[in-house]
């Protein structure tokens, strides 16, 4: 088993515990051991907190990184926002001046940032440490014929010099992860577009979402697969709001990748919390009989 420190962040543990459940269910089957971090706070969030005070933001992020350093482990996140904050902080703290400034603050609580733990997004952990073939080997319900539109989201990919996840102009990690489950990934025309959740106004993201959801609908996909809980909220609750606002029915249910993986590995549909979604991925039910849990 390969060991990683787990940084669950705020959104998934509090708003989407089904996603955390799915991660804890699927990773051990892929040979990844999860080590929990005691005392972790919000990453802190790369939008609101960072727009208030960058130095405070960097200091809190550095403290979180020291928790993984104490365990001598690299850390993985399950949220693209946490990945953005922590990867960028890791990058910024390579600057000696900034590191010294932050460490003067951490010294007050007996901590010191050393830069010894790397930050990984969970998508890269399964891609690089497990591999697509090994993921396929754990599937008991191949999702053949299931069309999964792909939403990458922004912070998984950009800025690529810092995130180091994939080619931001033509990524393939999400397509390959979905294909490993036997499903068919679909790239819609607005695949590159931002979900808009991190925009600090209302009208602009609503129009943007309408365009995005329209191109998703054009693909007649069964579900819209993603890897970020913020994007997920925008495509579930947000999709309902945008649909009402423009009087349109978009009707593509969002799904967080690790819940899809858990289902493909045999976890019953009813155990995965889908009943709490506004748009439920009911197309999965057709595959329930296809495999029984090992």
């Amino acid at each position: 088993m390969k060991k990683f420190a787990f940084f669950p962040g705020c959104l998934i543990p509090a708003r989407h515990p089904a996603m955390e459940f799915a991660i804890r269910e699927t990773l051990p089957k892929l040979g990844i051991e999860i080590v929990d971090l005691e005392g972790a706070s919000c990453c802190p969030d790369p939008i609101y907190f960072k727009s208030k005070d960058k130095l405070d933001w960097l200091t809190v992020a550095a403290r979180n990184l020291t928790l993984a350093e104490d365990k001598g482990l690299d850390l993985f996140t399950n949220c693209s926002g946490c990945t953005a904050t922590l990867s960028e902080s890791y990058h910024l703290l390579q600057d000696d001046g900034l590191r010294a400034q932050v460490n003067r603050r951490l010294e007050r609580i007996g901590r010191k940032y050393r830069g010894t733990s790397r930050v990984r997004h969970i998508a890269t952990v399964v891609r690089d440490e497990v591999g697509y073939d090994a993921i396929r080997d754990t599937v008991v319900r191949p999702l053949e014929g299931l069309k999964v539109a792909i939403h990458y989201g922004c912070h998984l990919l950009k800025p690529s010099r810092i995130m180091k996840v994939d080619n931001p102009d033509n990524p393939d990690v999400m397509e390959n992860l979905v294909a490993a489950l036997g499903a068919t990934p679909v790239r819609h025309r607005n695949w590159y577009l931002c979900c808009g959740k991190a925009c600090q106004t209302e009208d602009l993201p609503a129009t943007m979402m309408r365009d995005l959801l329209t191109t998703v609908r054009d693909e007649n996909a069964d579900v819209l697969g993603m890897i970020c809980p913020t994007c997920f909220g925008q495509f579930d609750h947000g999709q309902m709001k945008v649909g009402k606002r423009f009087g349109e029915d978009f009707g593509t249910p969002p799904i967080y990748y690790f819940q899809l993986l858990a289902f493909a590995q045999g976890v019953p549909y009813d155990d995965l919390g889908f009943e709490r979604q506004r748009f439920k991925p009911e197309a999965l039910k057709a595959y329930e009989g296809a495999g029984t849990p090992a």
Partner: protein
């Protein structure tokens, strides 16, 4: 400074604004901007605001030191979607989004952050999280066999957020 709109033929650089911005983390990067506009093409906030939000123009205003165009109530800066495409595209590594966030820090210093941002900060300062813990949250977690949300050691967090001695933040 107040008169620069009237003296349209003279650009007066507000150096106090530029110095204040340069003190923010990565706030001084606009100095490397050569106004190529690579940041604009992929900017969704530009597309969906009919061009009202324009990262190249914001960098130009920073270079000119036209702080009062950016630092005020209802600033155009809040239209940014934080998608990081401009950071990706910039050949000079200006990181327009980072300059914009530094400008937002200046807005926050003046009490001009949106109410939603202030709410997130308040939640963080009491719970160490952006989504506060509650019995309802723990009940949901229990349904999935997950333990209650662990507490965040707030005394540590508040200590590292105290302003630096002699510093501004």
């Amino acid at each position: 400074m107040e008169n620069h709109h009237e003296d349209r033929d003279i650009v007066r650089v507000d150096f106090a604004f530029r110095r204040e911005l340069a003190e923010k983390i990565e706030g001084n990067l606009a100095s490397f901007c050569y106004q190529c506009g690579a940041c604009v093409g992929d900017c969704p906030a530009n597309t969906y605001s009919d061009g009202i939000f324009n990262p190249r123009e914001i960098m130009l205003e920073v270079l000119y030191g036209l702080g009062d165009e950016l630092i005020g109530p209802d600033s155009v800066l809040w239209l940014c979607t934080n998608c990081y495409s401009c950071h990706e595209r910039c050949p000079q590594e200006v990181k327009p989004v980072e300059v914009i966030i530094s400008l937002k820090n200046m807005l926050a210093d003046r009490g001009l952050a949106p109410a939603a941002a202030e709410k997130v900060i308040r939640t963080f300062l009491t719970s160490g999280r952006t989504v506060p813990p509650s019995p309802a949250v723990d009940k949901q977690r229990a349904k999935f066999g997950l333990p209650p949300l662990p507490e965040v050691p707030m005394e540590e967090i508040l200590k590292i957020l105290e302003p630096d001695e002699g510093g501004t933040s």
